[in-house]
């Protein structure tokens, strides 16, 4: 187990490092000039050259990379051009908002999708199951921008019960959460439906039925218990994705999370901020994945970590 953890952490470190390097190169190879974005349209060539020097962008790429690595070792991810503050601090300030939205959205998704998937499995191939599928898939296929704007129009403008934008009170969390959850619902509910159908048709369910258990006990205790690993995998993967920031939804609702920060960082070619965002979100995503993997043996005693199944 400690050996497994050490190997997993080593792999994770390497993954984060390679991702960071790729991003470091890509942002510099992509068109656009941080100095121009920073100085604005009235800047002279001399201004631009001075700013480039300040940012260290006048040095050869390989030297910039060397400095980046050296600073990285001391936990320094540079100063954000637009915020004029340590890039890592800017990202970490936004993280709680993104984590809050991700936790709320995944919780709502699970609370709705799991019972819905179970319900669909019990009514497999009926008209009502088809109806549920059509609804959730429609939700998944609508552009998140559109879903967000629709919800805003109805609940913030037509019936002004919820705030339209920003995080002023907890009620501001409702609309972005619902928008994100609508996008996840189809995926999770269909996975639950599939896993539950398999489980409910297993011999151990028939044998358990012969012991006189109610269909409710068979479904929720025995069948759902046997769907734990795929369910946690799917929810964990979605959760990790949400931690990267839900760009469009955050922008539509003015949610001060990492998603809207990324948009700003890209617009201003704020290289240190982009790099810091990638470092933080990639690390978080990998940690979530690791936690999911560590949960496997708890959900299925046949799983042994570090051994092929």
């Amino acid at each position: 187990m400690p050996k497994y953890l050490a190997r997993r952490l080593g792999q994770s470190l390497l993954t984060v490092f390679l991702t960071l390097t790729t991003v470091f190169l890509l942002v510099r190879l992509a068109p656009g000039d941080p100095a121009a974005a920073y100085a604005g349209p009235t800047a002279t060539t001399a201004d631009l050259a001075r700013i480039r020097g300040e940012f260290g962008l006048d040095q050869p790429l390989i030297q910039q990379y060397g400095i980046f690595l050296r600073d990285l070792l001391t936990g320094n991810l540079g100063t954000s051009y637009s915020f004029r503050a340590p890039a890592l601090d800017v990202v970490l300030d936004r993280m709680p908002y993104t984590i809050t939205l991700a936790v709320a959205a995944i919780a709502v998704t699970a609370v709705v999708a799991v019972p819905l998937g179970v319900w669909m499995a019990r009514r497999a191939d009926s008209k009502r199951e088809l109806g549920a599928n059509v609804l959730t898939i429609t939700g998944q296929s609508m552009p998140d921008f559109w879903t967000g704007v629709m919800l805003l129009t109805v609940f913030a403008v037509l019936l002004p019960v919820l705030p339209a934008s920003g995080f002023t009170s907890w009620s501001g969390l409702v609309l972005p959460t619902v928008t994100v959850a609508i996008l996840q619902l189809a995926l999770i509910s269909r996975l639950v439906r599939r896993e539950m159908t398999t489980a409910l048709n297993s011999p151990y369910i028939t044998v358990a039925r012969s012991r006189g258990f109610s269909e409710r006990a068979l479904t929720w205790r025995y069948a759902l218990g046997n769907s734990g690993v795929p369910l946690i995998t799917a929810i964990g993967t979605r959760f990790a994705a949400l931690l990267n920031g839900v760009v469009v939804v955050e922008v539509v609702f003015g949610w001060p999370g990492v998603g809207s920060l990324v948009v700003r960082a890209l617009e201003t070619r704020d290289y240190p901020l982009i790099q810091a965002t990638v470092l933080v979100t990639a690390t978080l995503a990998i940690l979530v994945q690791l936690l999911v993997d560590l949960a496997y043996p708890l959900l299925d005693p046949r799983v042994r970590l570090g051994k092929a199944a």
Binding site: P203, Y204, V207, S210, R302
Partner: protein, 284 residues
């Protein structure tokens, strides 16, 4: 919970009349059971024998109404303690785990892989006796496991099915079936995964339960030797029908049908039986 122990007034524990079971499969509808009739009284053992695919398990699962709804069509009547489960599936639900229980054919897939043995046995015990505390459940459960000769039942209580051998799982399944304190036990090849000595032990246990508690048993086996020893009556099954029925001694010692003789010749036997029996294949 003693409410279902009503006197039967001469009504057999299990009374099957002209049972037909049609299975809807990918290759069309097959009549797996084609009009069988038999009874099992209290304290009796009635055995179904027959080649693989002759419909023995389908009969057993049909009696319990455990065949998938919509994919199996039953007709005729099956009365368990007087209640017809073909006409009323709810009666089957009420009887299962209380009046009747099952020892399933394949022990390897019959238990949930992610729940402990103790949990699954405990659930069965608490279904029968809802008032049992955790400690009482565990005490009774380990007693049951000891009764079917599971070694070190206290430590095995928290083990998972994949940590048991097939033979050990079969004993656990017998314990779970007994947890229901049934009046009728349906045993689908209950000893097929056990080695000879254990097999004898388990059969002794089942026989003893029968004598003490007056349990009726519907048994399915490939083993004519076993059938001969434990059964009151034997029904020989082929393609969904009974080709021959009668007292165990008559069927085994003086079979009338060539099919039965072929079955007898094909079954590998234990002990002093002639070695030739081992080489024959089951007649098809």
């Amino acid at each position: 919970m003693a409410t279902d122990v009503s006197p039967l007034d001469g009504v057999p524990l299990l009374d099957v009349e002209n049972l037909q079971i049609e299975l809807i499969t990918a290759h069309g509808v097959i009549r797996a059971v084609d009009g069988v009739s038999f009874t099992v009284g209290e304290g009796e053992t009635v055995t179904l024998i027959g080649e693989s695919g002759s419909g023995k398990s389908t009969t057993a699962m049909g009696v319990l109404r455990l065949l998938p709804e919509g994919l199996a069509v039953l007709s005729g009547s099956v009365r368990i303690a007087g209640r017809d489960v073909v006409a009323d599936p709810r009666a089957a639900r009420a009887l299962r785990g209380r009046t009747v229980s099952l020892i399933p054919q394949d022990p390897m897939t019959a238990l949930s892989p992610v729940h402990t043995i103790g949990r699954q046995l405990g659930d069965a015990l608490r279904l029968r006796h809802p008032g049992l505390s955790r400690a009482e459940t565990r005490e009774r459960g380990t007693e049951l496991l000891a009764q079917v000769h599971v070694p070190r039942p206290e430590t095995r209580w928290k083990a998972y099915p994949h940590q048991f051998s097939g033979g050990m799982l079969q004993r656990v399944l017998i314990a779970v079936a007994l947890a229901a304190e049934p009046r009728l036990l349906i045993a689908d090849e209950p000893t097929s995964a056990l080695d000879a000595t254990v097999q004898a032990g388990v059969l002794d246990l089942l026989m003893e339960l029968q004598e003490v508690e007056g349990i009726g048993m519907l048994m399915i086996t490939h083993d004519l030797g076993v059938a001969r020893v434990v059964s009151d009556r034997i029904h020989v099954m082929k393609e969904g029908r009974f080709v021959e029925s009668g007292p165990a001694g008559t069927i085994v010692d003086r079979p009338a049908e060539p099919y039965t003789r072929a079955l007898l010749a094909a079954v590998p036997r234990l002990g002093a039986w002639d070695e030739d029996g081992l080489t024959g294949a089951v007649a098809r």
